[in-house]
Symmetry: C2
Subunit: 555 residues, 2 copies
């Protein structure tokens, strides 16, 4: 098979103006970025506000494994298939970071015959959204350090600055640094560090903002430090939310591109699914819902992370919920959860498969607790056997969910027709959506509910640090916010080694972090990597562009 970039190069793209025209977007509401990318103005929402919403399909997955699930490929394939079935559909996805493209082989624009294009731009600078977020983020740091140097009127405690700097790069050497060295002219010496831009609260805020005004309000609320009295210091205290919003004036506008089959795609924003809510911008999703019959969107990591956050935080906050959830599974990943080693993952093994199905079961059960219809998508690999597939189909059916084969990576939309038909049926089913907790629940109650209902823990433990942080949050009136749990994506539990369907264990929350701008509290259950590193041989050594502009090494 051809590589992703080779397939992308052979694709016949339509001018983005044609895509915009099919969506009836007036010319004054979008701007081209080259021939195949456009940004749709946030002001267009005002024009759309009286339109009826389309159906929302949320794509999530079983617990991720090194074997890969293909959630993005499935989302794109499903949206293309819906269009093939003459249902108007937009796929709304997160935009990839550039940093990881340099680290590991593999971008994040789908793959094979289920891609969004132009993949080389989407995977590189795209329309500059992430660069704008980096700039806004680091402007806060620069103003903060200048404020401290010039008298520190806000009495910021330089040992309790919560705001690190940011860069869209896998750069472990910047995780822990000391800044301000070299004397008075260079400011005040203190500890600092860099996080990758996708982990910035500015990213989360941008993805939740409903307008420029709302963006400014959220930015101003971000807590960046504590003063010498221990009180929170915000970006609003530095009086720079206006300049940050100016820096983000284009980044707030959703990006319009197309799939390899020329159906529309909105690719906008990319917050993490552990320390943030893990789905593309609400602006993009809400705009897409006004423009088509179906919107296929994706939530990061497994259903215990991305989907839970969508259903418990995004849906109540924005008063929208999925008409159907698509749960992606692969035979390979299920076998891995059942104990099969990676090097034999391609061989038929009904024993490990049967055992691994318990992971699928937990996620189906979890999703049904939210009252939404669930469809299983089996992302099929060439090595999967008929027997294996039948086992998964039967298993899902017993749990009340139809399982459909998806081969859109190899076949494009025709590989997702069965799934699309299932989804079209499913969205008409009874939908009793409700979140698992309400804002009236205390922080501890919310955690109790999630650890029991979703993570299947026996007991919940809060460390002394976590307990003392709750007091701080209560004291300053932040304890009633929704909860975002940051934990490993490799297990339903808080321990990445626990594959399959762990239960009855102790779930430990070691600390809380306040994302007051984004409007949630992050519960930290385990170490969360906010700045990846490059490997021994980074993908950067494989990437190239030749004299004619032909690109190599992107996939």
């Amino acid at each position: 098979m051809l590589t992703d970039i080779e397939i992308a190069r052979k694709a016949k793209l339509e001018k983005i103006d044609n895509i915009a025209e099919k969506l009836n977007i007036p010319e004054e509401y979008y701007n081209n970025y080259g021939k195949h990318i456009a940004k749709i103005s946030n002001h267009y929402m005002k024009e759309l506000k009286d339109k009826k919403d389309g159906k929302l399909i949320l794509v999530t997955a079983i617990t991720p494994t090194p074997a890969g699930e293909g959630k993005t490929t499935t989302s794109i394939g499903l949206s293309m298939a819906l269009n093939k079935l003459e249902k108007k559909s937009i796929v709304a996805l997160r935009e990839p970071s550039l940093g990881p493209v340099m680290g590991i082989k593999g971008g994040a624009a789908g793959g094979g015959y289920s891609q969004v294009l132009p993949m080389e731009d989407i995977n590189l600078h795209f329309t500059g959204d992430i660069h704008a977020i980096t700039t806004a983020h680091n402007l806060v740091s620069a103003v903060l350090d200048a404020h401290i140097k010039y008298g520190n009127k806000l009495n910021i405690d330089t040992t309790r600055i919560l705001w690190k700097r940011a860069m869209d790069m896998n750069d472990r050497a910047l995780r822990n640094i000391v800044i301000g060295l070299g004397g008075k002219a260079n400011g005040v010496t203190r500890e600092d560090g860099f996080i990758i831009t996708a982990a910035s609260e500015v990213m989360a805020v941008l993805c939740l903002a409903e307008s420029i005004t709302d963006l400014k309000k959220k930015l101003a609320s971000i807590v960046i430090a504590r003063n010498l009295k221990g009180e929170p210091v915000t970006i609003g205290d530095l009086k720079i939310e206006g300049s940050l919003a100016l820096v983000l004036k284009d980044a707030i506008n959703p990006n319009l591109v197309q799939t390899i089959e020329n159906t529309p795609a909105l690719i906008h924003g990319g917050p993490f699914a552990n320390i943030a809510h893990g789905t593309n911008s609400m602006m993009a999703t809400k705009m897409a819902l006004k423009m088509t019959d179906y919107v296929v969107t994706e939530a990061g990591f497994g259903a215990d992370l991305g989907a839970e956050k969508f259903l418990d935080f995004v849906s109540p906050t924005f008063k929208l919920h999925p008409d159907t959830v698509v749960l992606v599974a692969t035979i390979r990943a299920l076998k891995y959860h059942g104990g099969q080693k990676l090097d034999t993952i391609s061989e038929e093994n009904l024993e490990t498969l049967n055992k691994g199905l318990e992971n699928l079961k937990v996620h189906i059960e979890n999703l049904k607790k939210f009252g939404v219809p669930v469809v299983v998508a089996i992302n099929k690999f060439a090595t999967d056997t008929e027997k294996e597939i039948q086992i998964v189909k039967d298993y899902a059916e017993n749990l009340g969910s139809k399982a459909s084969i998806n081969t859109s990576f190899a076949d494009g939309s025709s590989g997702a027709i069965e799934l699309a038909k299932e989804v079209i049926e499913s969205v008409e089913k009874e939908n009793n959506y409700k979140p698992l907790y309400t804002l009236e629940n205390t922080l501890e109650e919310k955690l109790e509910i999630l650890s029991k209902e979703i993570y299947r823990a026996g007991t919940l433990e809060l460390t002394p640090t976590a307990k003392s942080k709750i007091k701080f949050l209560r004291k300053y009136g932040y304890d009633n916010l929704p909860l975002i749990v940051a934990k490993t994506q490799s297990s339903i539990s808080d321990d990445k080694k626990k594959l399959g369907a762990p239960n009855g264990y102790k779930f430990t929350v070691r600390d809380f972090e306040l994302s007051a701008g984004a409007g949630f509290i992050v519960a930290l259950a385990g170490e969360i990597m906010r700045m990846p590193g490059l490997g021994k041989i980074p993908n950067a050594v494989n990437l190239d562009i030749d004299k004619d502009g032909i690109i190599k090494g992107l996939s």
Copy 2:
């Protein structure tokens, strides 16, 4: 008078497609970035290669003072006036950094009725060129530190890493930092620092590259460290010039915008005029020369820095030279050079003016040593008196250069008609261009020539560090490169306090730096600031955007 952003908002912009059409650029060779910005493909140069070059006008200035000279405003006004006189003209300028916009009031897109538009985009992210340079720059650092962590096969001496990280921000706290703290997982602890992106050698290289292939070659040649034997280590040794070129694939393409009077402008690249060559990309200038009768371009700082580098480095390297040099002066700055204090600079004072004219004289004489015709532009302020102006005109005329009034800040093109007519006459004059030194001169000889002919020093001194660095450069075959002198912009000499026309002093070179990718050696005469800081009240607190997208605080 209205502010720059208010004037910009009232301007009636043409669609950039119209501007491109007037320049006969085929649609397949440019890409829109919104309605009013386009990028012209570097591949378009192949189509243009047989066209005749237009006339090149280089705009430079007397020694800069806090009173301001208005070089960019003059360049834009002159190009608009040439168009008004039915001469096709493009103004080619450097693109501003975003960092300084947050620091001090004042962007870098001209001012008043002599602006390039859309100024709010040009001053912010524009087409992302500088973000791409930042990314490429920092990718080198990330790969370098990963290389060291994973065994350091190149035997890089971690105490002699020359490559710092970069950010487009005024952020003094990042000048001197320690990275890699926190144990083995975070890499190797070492000293580092950040420079502002405009000071990156990647910026210089991008502005000198004639194609993607040339760009890769230059990037690979950049020396980033020395190994334990003291030998130079290059980006080519890390094998990432391909990925850097990929990151820069769009940044290499010149940006097309328009002036406030809808005449074409290319704004592309922004290297410093002390540690680099200080003019917009050669790609933009060469492309512009093929497309119109006149190209007005600008070199940074005073004529002793930017213009000297253009005439001694850029012209011989690219086999093009100015048909006329425009030397911008203001009555206020001349009085300042004559000893007048800033608070009385608006008052008529013939004594300080007459004394300050010696600065103008040195620059006129210097420029004439290159054999090019020189025209003086008096950038007129409302407080300048008729007497003062006449004195400058007479003085310039005595030195063999016509001086013309320029009021394009207040009047647009009509304020630069006199200057434009003078330029049209001047380009037909005899032009005996030759650089002051040749590549056959040794490093010391080149410095002797410049310090005597341009900086008017009595003696040249090289510190022991500088002398030892020459040995290194010789040993590795780098000593035959052109010379770029980095010194204060506030004096013709190496001492910023020496206003007017210093001479007979001792000019000290304290060190050399190798820019092997850009292809020059930097002689350091004084401390060069590569990372500015924010002031006590940074401009960031003045910037804002309202709910309708109206911007405040940019000028």
